[in-house]
């Protein structure tokens, strides 16, 4: 198939950036989206031009490195799919495909399609952990956990940290990302001890880093490649307010 690509090119963080258009012929529908980008890049290199920079690593939908805004949607038109899992068979012959980086104040562009997502790590550093030192744990089966709770915790823990939820949100909110981590840890007895401090610190950090507020449009859930459910946001809101009401101090 033949396609036309409109790709955002930006030399570095300081550059203003602009769209460039490329015609690409003989694209195989079996290619993954990133293999199509490899193919484009090999052409650009052979023409002596700079290839398009994009983040990627595992190419199997689990590391969360890839993240491209394709035709106005994070990770493209297919639901439940990361950019690296997206296949060209989902596009039409002669289609024009618009390719952009994540757009969010909290994710400045580094080059072309690569953005800086370290703000997500900052949120985890604020409280996305259980404070147990190595060596102090008891036998793992000392704490029975109802299967439903542990399965739910797992459902929240599948987040790959790609940032699609932020890119999908018109307010650039990171609520789904934060809520998933808060839920995972809060649903487990091990994580309950720090639950109220955790939620306060993580939410505070999210606000501080310039992520927007949540207005319940839930585009985040729709575009999450891992189907993380927005019910975790509701749960976090409850946890957050009850932690405030209980006045447990954040130290």
């Amino acid at each position: 198939m033949d396609i036309k690509l409109k790709i955002w090119r930006q030399k570095d963080a300081a550059d203003k950036g602009k769209f460039e258009t490329y015609d690409l012929k003989e694209v195989s529908p079996e290619m993954s989206f990133l293999e199509m980008m490899d193919y484009l890049n090999s052409k650009l290199i052979s023409e002596g031009k700079e290839p398009v920079a994009f983040d990627h690593d595992c190419r199997e939908g689990i590391c969360g490195s890839c993240g491209i805004y394709i035709n106005g949607r994070p990770h493209g038109p297919e639901r439940g799919t990361t950019t690296c899992e997206l296949r060209m068979r989902f596009f039409k012959n002669n289609e024009t495909i618009v390719v952009e980086p994540w757009r969010s104040r909290a994710f400045p562009v580094i080059k072309d399609l690569i953005v800086d997502r370290t703000s997500l790590d900052e949120i985890i550093k604020a409280g996305g952990f259980i404070s147990v030192d190595t060596g102090s744990a008891k036998d793992a089966n000392c704490i029975p956990i109802p299967k439903n709770n542990s399965d739910k915790a797992f459902d929240a823990a599948v987040c790959v940290g790609c940032g699609a939820c932020v890119a999908a949100c018109k307010n650039s909110s990171a609520m789904l990302f934060v809520a998933a981590k808060v839920a995972q840890m809060g649903l487990l007895p091990q994580g309950k001890v720090e639950a109220s401090i955790r939620v306060q610190k993580m939410v505070e950090k999210m606000d501080e880093l310039g992520f927007g507020f949540c207005s319940n449009i839930l585009a985040c859930e729709y575009d999450c490649p891992k189907h993380v459910s927005s019910e975790f946001i509701a749960k976090m809101n409850r946890d957050f307010f009850s932690s405030k009401v209980c006045k447990q101090k954040v130290i």
């Binding site: 090999s42 052979s46 690593d57 296949r87 997502r117 550093k125 542990s150 940290g161 994580g191």
Partner: protein
């Protein structure tokens, strides 16, 4: 002259580690604060090490090439993580796990190290559970386990098909906690390009900042490499595209010995190569062989749809050849059996290079829901890539380059032959011999990081408490930096016409053909020649666009490919040297009439540790493997 000393402590197997641990020297908390440690890598090994060392109070600096430590390729591990808990009451024990690993590794691993890995496995599960890793549970609320290839007990803990992700996120959260406490400093988007040795000791590394292009010097009292495996040498593999050999290779060039480089595991169940543009092979976890049955048609070149091939016409060749273990034979055995059927003309699909993995019986027996619960995400992944629904028809699978048992040689302290330079996780060679058993890598990586390196590195550092902070303006840093800069200049100046990836792809094909699942002396010699030629061509005609400043992914790739040529040659040399078949190393000349691997314990019960002496003439050092506790036997899975 290097003399290999494995430093295995004396005494009965079961007491070695505990006795040794209590004899190791300590560093008091006030002194720990003054000591710096560099950890390169944030996978299960690196993130676990860095967080534990931070908890102990050391000053830790951690590096990874991705934008976040959470993306290390450990994240992709699917099936599970072993531990000798014996929760299933099925006769498991530390000793049993140890024996399984020694046997699975075809008697080419060091007993004492393997036993220790098995011994700390239980603590790994306890710790991960305590820090919130949501392992699968039974209705009673306790942890569930499943079976993996090569064993007859159920000792594999799992979190659906995302065990690696969940364990890695556990280690990452512990790491983040230390970063927020200030004991650990994180340096993402850095490529380690060289190691700095001062007065015989590892004292730092040279990195390239992948955003600014700056060449940076970092110093420490000790350096830990946790940089993962180099299976990407085959170009197409189950590894991440950024996985590389460069960090370990730079250590090799500075004097660390490289052990058993040709021991590379070919995983039997990956989605086969579908087209020429493919950049990656996606693994379908070994755990699928618990419920899936492997077969090919009994009819040669059978192009019928698999659902149209009747039960009588199907050859369940693993069950046929290995009735005791059936579909759960170890990986090397399963891979070769698949290749044998395909080479004989019975392979499935258009290319004839695949076999079926069939769940129809399991689905009929247990119901689709049960199968979905166990493997849902894997089935989804398969369908996304191939467009085929594996609930309705069998998957097609084929072996793919996967895991490197070979790696930097380390002693019992996990220290390389360069004092102060440690290697942990997949980057070292120590625990899996010539073949790794499923689910034992996560176990080893986390064990190395959480429960072994904190002890052994402390013993080493107890001699360093008087050493002040290492200045980076020493000559040795300047020399190493110069080496790095010159290599970058050299690669940029070639200015040819072919991309680094195109060379990588060609290199991968040569190594796959001549140093892959099946090898022979003639082929290996040929392979060596071909790699040499290709390497020469690379240095004449590679094209790297852009400059050394700023983000330049083509430069990153080219630097890695340049190292892959060199390690590819060492793989061939190592495979050629080992005139026997063992584990993943299968030399056609050495097989039984039934086509099984034939070891030669008299001549080859050793670790082949290579010393760098220029690119084509490495020097071999042998570490004899003494089996005190298990008896060497022919591996038998029949």
């Amino acid at each position: 002259m290097i003399k290999l000393d494995s430093k295995i402590p004396p005494g009965p197997l079961a007491n070695k580690w505990s006795d040794y641990k209590s004899s190791l020297r300590l560093v008091n908390p006030a002194n720990k604060k003054k000591l710096e440690i560099i950890v390169v890598g944030t996978g299960l090994a690196g993130a676990s090490a860095a967080s534990s060392l931070g908890e102990l109070g050391y000053n830790v600096k951690v590096f990874c090439f991705q934008d976040s430590p959470r993306r290390a390729h450990s994240v992709a591990a699917q099936g599970g993580i072993n531990a000798a808990k014996n929760y299933k009451n099925d006769g498991d024990s530390i000793y049993r796990l140890f024996v399984d690993m020694v046997k699975g590794g075809d008697y080419r691993a060091r007993e004492a190290n393997v036993y220790r890995a098995a011994e700390v496995s239980n603590s790994v599960i306890d710790h991960y559970t305590a820090i919130g890793v949501p392992f699968a549970r039974d209705y009673g609320g306790l942890l569930d386990t499943r079976s993996f290839g090569g064993v007859q007990v159920s000792r594999t803990f799992y979190a659906k098909g995302q065990t690696g992700q969940q364990c890695l996120l556990g280690s990452y959260s512990a790491l983040c906690r230390q970063i927020s406490k200030g004991t650990v400093k994180m340096f993402p988007r850095r490529d380690m390009l060289d190691v700095v040795v001062v007065d015989g000791k590892a004292r730092g590394i040279i990195t390239r900042n992948l955003i600014t292009g700056e060449i940076e010097r970092h110093s420490a009292h000790a350096v830990v490499l946790a940089t993962g495996g180099y299976g990407t040498v085959f170009y197409l593999s189950t590894l991440a595209l950024g996985s590389n050999a460069s960090a370990a290779w730079s250590a090799y060039k500075q004097g660390a010995l490289f052990a058993n480089p040709s021991f590379i595991q070919i995983h039997p169940t990956s989605i086969p190569v579908l087209n020429d543009y493919q950049s990656k092979l996606t693994l379908m976890s070994e755990s699928l062989r618990n419920d899936g049955r492997v077969w090919v048609s009994k009819v040669e070149k059978d192009k019928r749809h698999p659902n149209d091939i009747s039960e009588e016409e199907r050859d369940y060749y693993l069950e046929r050849r290995y009735p005791a273990f059936g579909n759960l034979v170890p990986r090397d055995v399963a891979s070769r059996a698949a290749k044998e059927r395909c080479d004989a003309g019975f392979g499935a699909g258009d290319t004839g290079l695949s076999v079926y993995l069939d769940f129809s019986q399991a689905i009929a027996k247990q119901g689709q829901k049960a199968i979905e619960n166990k493997y849902g995400n894997l089935f989804e992944m398969y369908e996304k890539i191939t467009g085929v629904n594996p609930y309705k028809e069998p998957m097609r699978i084929y072996p793919a380059g996967h895991y490197t048992m070979g790696g930097l040689w380390v002693d019992y302290n996990l220290m390389t032959t360069i004092p102060g330079l440690f290697a942990i996780g997949e980057a070292n060679f120590s625990d899996h011999g010539a073949n790794r058993l499923g689910a034992s890598s996560l176990m080893q990586c986390a064990g190395d990081g959480f429960f072994i390196i904190p002890y052994t590195i402390t013993d080493y550092l107890s001699d360093e408490i008087k050493t002040p902070k290492i200045p980076t303006d020493k000559d040795e840093f300047a020399v190493a930096e110069k080496r790095v800069r010159e290599r970058i200049e050299k690669i940029l100046n070639v200015n040819g016409a072919k991309t680094a990836s195109s060379f990588h792809k060609r290199l991968g094909k040569i190594l796959w053909d001549y140093c892959g699942m099946i090898r022979n002396a003639e082929g290996l010699k040929k392979g060596l020649e071909l790699v040499d030629e290709l390497e020469a061509e690379f240095w004449k005609s590679v094209k790297v666009t852009g400059t050394k400043d700023g983000l330049n992914q083509e430069l990153e790739k080219a630097l890695r490919v340049a190292d892959f040529f060199e390690i590819g040659k060492l793989m061939c040399i190592d495979a050629l040297n080992r005139d026997e078949s063992c584990g993943a190393h299968f030399r056609e000349e050495y097989q039984t009439p039934q086509g099984e691997a034939m070891r030669n314990d008299e001549k080859f019960a050793f670790v082949a540790a290579w010393e760098y002496k220029g690119s084509n003439s490495p020097e071999l050092h042998k570490e004899e493997l003494k089996y005190e506790f298990v008896q060497l036997k022919a591996r038998d899975y029949k």
